[in-house]
């Protein structure tokens, strides 16, 4: 079973040299810490940064330089700053090669819900709806089950949708799964996790083809 850092490390293996990547808030943000050596990847923050760098050194933080999670950040040499319309032109115009975001629920057809629990929690969708409506390569980073142990990989989402039939791959604490032909196709198991355990934690249709390899981290 992976922890949040393990999930981030596994997603970092999806990166390719020269890619522009948008990371959502939470586990996705951690992916930036595990870019494989030798790869050049530029991170986009939808509030208007390309070439986002690490957190500033203590005492050098500047309120005018934040990321989409409202955290103080730095900008790398070669980076750029732009307004919100230009930022979403990059996103909607498919200039970003990989998008990683969190989710409350994913359905077997690739639907995703991550912005609202009616009557309880309404934070808003932020940029998530624009991201999932346009990006080709959407990877969801999340725990396989919720706090009450219920599966987050469902036949159909029960919460209001963020986007329809858009998720390509899911990396959880238990497995890597692809959405294909209306099912979750098991790609890899987390270290020490059996196919049966994954099956039991997955409410939607799970397809298991042959030997399923264990992740290499």
């Amino acid at each position: 079973m992976l922890d949040k850092i393990g999930i981030a490390k596994r997603i970092a293996q999806e990166l390719n040299d020269g890619w522009y990547v948008n990371l959502g808030i939470g586990i996705p943000t951690l992916v930036a810490n595990y870019v494989p050596k030798g790869l050049n990847v530029e991170f986009q923050s939808e509030n208007g940064i390309l070439g986002m760098g690490a957190f500033p050194y203590e005492g050098e933080e500047d309120a005018d330089y934040i990321n989409a999670g409202k955290q103080t950040v730095t900008i790398l040499p070669g980076g750029s700053i732009f307004d919100s319309a230009t930022s979403f032109a990059m996103i909607r115009g498919q200039h970003i090669q990989m998008t990683v975001l969190g989710a409350m629920e994913v359905a077997e057809n690739g639907d995703i819900a991550n912005w609202k629990i009616p009557g309880k929690m309404v934070k808003g969708m932020g940029g998530a709806m624009d991201l999932v409506a346009s990006a080709d390569n959407i990877i969801v980073a999340m725990m396989h089950t919720n706090k009450r142990g219920k599966s987050k990989l469902l036949k159909r989402c029960s919460l209001p949708l963020t986007g329809v039939a858009c998720v390509r791959r899911i990396v959880t604490n238990m497995a890597v799964l692809d959405i294909k032909d209306g099912a979750f196709v098991l790609v890899e198991r987390a270290p020490g996790v059996s196919v049966e355990e994954i099956q039991n934690a997955t409410e939607g249709k799970l397809v298991v083809e042959g030997e399923v390899p264990e992740m290499k981290l």
Binding site: I49, A68, I81, A85, K123, G126, G127, M129, A133, V164
Partner: protein, 233 residues
């Protein structure tokens, strides 16, 4: 050409109950904090505020929410404000949540004379309810309308008496888009400079979009999430 006014009081003259106001900023970054403080003082109410976020409980638009001066908010993300969530869930506050990219483009369209546009964002979700759907290149899109405001209030780093503006860092965000969409646009800046000091090649908002400009008294520039790393020894 001289659009300079001396104070936030002068700049916000004419803002009345029931008006629609756009306010630039992302989180607390690049918000017009001097004008927000003035709106609190003016006690204007029943405002419709268009802003990506709603501040935090005790800063930014949260100050107007606390005093119940806002009737309706149009935003994309409001997760940092408990009072906002309380007012929304109890029905005291009308809220229109829209995707962030659509919000940016709707402001830009409003300022650019484009009444509406199609976007894929929100198709198949509750955002699409009641909106026209049309297919382009085999993909569904929804029709989103432009946004304009009685007053747009933006915050910039430097500006001159022509209204030319330069923003700093990610404090740019929605400011240049909203600057275009106000019937009257107010710019509050950290520093007023002489005409010619801003290199025309690097002006972010051309002065034509600005009607009033003033230098703010103080800028607290509160940081929402202070994240730092330690220096390697």
């Amino acid at each position: 050409m001289n659009k300079i006014v001396n104070t936030a009081t002068e700049a916000t003259k004419g803002i009345q109950d029931g008006m629609t106001i756009m306010l630039g900023g992302f989180g607390l970054c690049g918000i017009p904090e001097n004008c927000i403080a003035e709106l609190v003082k003016m006690c204007v109410k029943d405002l419709t505020c268009i802003s990506n976020n709603a501040g935090v409980d005790d800063f930014g638009l949260g100050l107007l929410l606390q005093k119940k001066q806002i009737r309706k908010m149009i935003s994309s993300y409001v997760g940092e404000n408990d009072e906002f969530e309380r007012q929304m869930l109890s029905g005291e506050l009308e809220v229109d949540l829209i995707p962030q990219g659509s919000l940016a483009s709707r402001c830009q369209a409003g300022g650019a004379g484009v009444p509406a546009f199609y976007t894929p964002a929100g198709f198949g979700t509750e955002v699409a309810h009641g909106k026209e759907v049309r297919y382009f290149n085999g993909k569904p899109h929804i029709l989103e309308s432009a946004l304009t405001a009685d007053f747009a209030i933006v915050k910039a780093w430097k500006g001159d008496r022509y209204g030319n503006l330069v923003y700093k860092g990610t404090a740019r965000n929605f400011n240049p888009l909203m600057a275009m969409a106000g019937k009257i646009t107010i710019a509050e800046v950290e520093e007023i400079v002489e005409p010619g000091e801003l290199d025309p090649n690097f002006v972010h908002t051309p002065g034509i979009f600005i009607q009033r400009i003033f230098q703010g008294d103080t800028f607290e520039k509160r940081i929402e999430q202070r994240t730092v790393r330690q220096k390697e020894s």
